[in-house]
């Protein structure tokens, strides 16, 4: 029996694209040669019609790898897992947004470049209908990769609609805005799916798990919910790549992508910075430069 998570109903798509064929070939070579211990990619899910993350260690299983519009997951989150880190060198299938997350991990020393073989997939967008984030994609061609599958294409880029929801909220009165978020945060059950699925939430001990003092209440009451969601948002400012996995993972559909966008816009407008486009540029909220503007310190 292979040491990967179990194969499902075996309804592999009869046709594959040439990109997927190429991906499978490279994955096989990497595993056979021992260059990597594991390939993290997408496979058919347990639920008919869905995909799920798969972890291959046996070259004979590479035909389980797929890539299509259903592949919404950001697999970079698995680079946080101690069991995966302990494997040493792994290969990982990424879209552009996922690769941006890897750039942030590399920048923050949460992953080592030499331990990764990045299998970049050119992506025109996932979801059917297309995910909203894909309509404003900055990285249809992944910004970092070791192997690229698909012909490079230019990025769609931001447009007038990209920050429409943020602008809508900005136009509201504070009371209206408060009410908007109150309605949504009321549903929060503190499951922390948002945190767990996020590749950038890497703290080994999250602030809400600390109790001396209890900075963020663990209770799912209004104070606890606001406090949690807003604290997480602040901790992601300048680091979030708006892959929007948090919104997808949320079981009660809190529109976290709007917060992500608001922060992206603020950081871009104030500092001209966009997270994850490379792994060299320092994030403005985590970097000190001499001679920086200090007008706000009174």
């Amino acid at each position: 029996m292979s040491a990967s998570n179990e194969s499902t109903t075996g309804t592999a798509t009869a046709e594959t694209t040439k990109e997927v064929d190429a991906l499978r070939k490279v994955a096989r070579e990497l595993l056979e040669s021992g260059a990597v211990k594991m390939v993290i990619g997408y496979g058919e899910g347990y639920t008919q019609g869905k995909v799920m993350p798969i972890f291959l260690t046996d070259p004979e299983e590479v035909n389980r790898l797929i890539f299509d519009k259903r592949c919404v997951n950001n697999l970079a989150t698995y680079l946080k897992k101690p069991e995966i880190r302990a494997m040493g060198k792994v290969a990982i299938v990424v879209k552009g947004c996922d690769a941006r997350a890897i750039n942030v991990l590399l920048l923050e020393n949460q992953a080592r470049r030499e331990n990764l073989v990045i299998l970049g997939m050119v992506c025109e967008g996932v979801g059917d209908p297309a995910e909203e984030k894909c309509l404003s994609c900055l990285v249809n061609t992944p910004p970092v990769y070791d192997h690229l599958f698909g012909e490079k294409i230019p990025a769609r880029g931001w447009n007038e609609e990209t920050f429409a929801k943020v602008e809508e909220l900005d136009a509201m009165s504070p009371e209206e805005r408060w009410e908007f978020w109150r309605r949504h945060f009321d549903r929060c059950i503190k499951c922390y799916a948002c945190r767990q699925v996020c590749p950038i939430c890497t703290c080994t001990r999250c602030i809400t798990d600390k109790n001396q003092p209890q900075w963020v209440p663990t209770s799912p009451h209004p104070m606890g919910n606001y406090h949690w969601n807003l604290t997480r948002a602040f901790h992601l400012a300048g680091r979030c790549v708006s892959c929007n996995e948090c919104e997808r993972a949320c079981p009660v559909d809190i529109p976290l992508s709007i917060i992500n966008l608001a922060l992206v816009k603020a950081v871009h407008d104030q500092y001209g910075f966009i997270a994850g486009m490379n792994s060299e540029d320092s994030p403005p909220l985590a970097t000190y430069k001499e001679g920086e503007e200090q007008e706000f310190i009174k």
Binding site: N211, Q212, P213
Partner: protein, 291 residues
């Protein structure tokens, strides 16, 4: 006795999570980070209720209001019914808050929970206590229980060690036990932990146990210590001829409700708060390594 408990004005809730209010009567600093607290029940009927059930080895949930609850064993025996004691090191929020309290302050206490050492089955037997460091408190309740009923038991031997002299807890009581001629006390510190005037042994507890070589005949052994000490002590007991039915230990695990409901403390299918914390070695050996 002042009634400090407010009752709800409508129906009374039979609230299993409600603690008794306890007055902190005495604080003893055992080591720079370990204290022994003596508590008095503020409500005497609650005190009587507690002692009608309490058997040695059981634990309770101790809380400071505002910081939360922590489970500790009751470190005093059922033979002393005016007070209860616990000994703990400050490692978390509640324990640090507790060490900030003064005599006269109020804490909460829920208990007794869990199972107990079957001391009634040990009458006439030799009792061997083996403990390390901060793990003496759970056994200290049994030691006092046995010593308070001394004539019912045969030989009593205590082997107790810590990393250094200053890490030894219950220093006053060790002194008392040393003086008694009906208790054989062997104290030890780890090599390098001795002070110039240290008169006890030097060596790890399992080594000292091996050297002391107590007989297993008609003897019950109680072992409590950090995992590493247990790991090396059990083989020595085995070598000395102890069967697994003759050896008892007490486990600690993260516990919250203490009542088997919150789902947190199970080791395999065994809830430490219900089927423990006292375990006989043969039962412990059946449990999966999840503690």
């Amino acid at each position: 006795m002042e009634d400090t408990n407010l009752q709800s004005t409508t129906a009374v809730l039979d609230n299993i999570y409600r603690p008794s209010l306890m007055k902190l009567d005495r604080v003893t600093w055992e080591t720079p980070d370990t204290t022994t607290f003596r508590f008095l029940f503020m409500d005497d009927s609650e005190r009587r209720q507690f002692f009608s059930q309490y058997k040695v080895g059981q634990f309770g949930e101790y809380s400071t209001f505002g910081h939360g609850e922590s489970p500790f064993c009751v470190a005093s025996p059922p033979t002393r019914q005016e007070y209860i004691e616990c000994t703990f090191r400050a490692v978390g929020r509640n324990t640090k808050a507790m060490q900030g309290l003064n005599e006269g302050d109020t804490v909460g206490f829920r208990g007794p929970y869990g199972n107990w050492f079957p001391i009634e089955d040990w009458k006439g037997k030799n009792i061997l206590f083996i403990a390390g460091g901060i793990a003496l408190p759970p056994l200290r309740a049994v030691i006092w229980n046995v010593l308070d009923r001394r004539s019912e038991f045969a030989d009593v031997k205590i082997i107790y060690g810590a990393r250094t002299v200053s890490d030894l807890v219950y220093k006053n009581e060790l002194y008392e036990w040393e003086k008694r001629n009906d208790v054989d006390l062997v104290q030890t510190v780890d090599p390098g932990g001795e002070t110039p005037d240290w008169k006890g042994r030097i060596g790890f507890v399992p080594t000292v146990l091996d050297q002391a070589a107590p007989s297993h005949e008609n003897t019950i052994a109680l072992v409590c210590g950090p995992p590493i000490m247990i790991k090396f002590t059990f083989p020595v007991l085995d070598k000395l001829g102890f069967s697994r039915q003759q050896v008892y230990t007490t486990l600690e695990n993260r516990m919250k409700c203490g009542l088997g409901k919150c789902g947190r403390c199970n080791v395999g299918g065994t809830y430490v708060c219900k089927d423990g914390p006292v375990f006989r070695w043969d039962t412990l050996a059946q449990l999966p390594p999840e503690y």
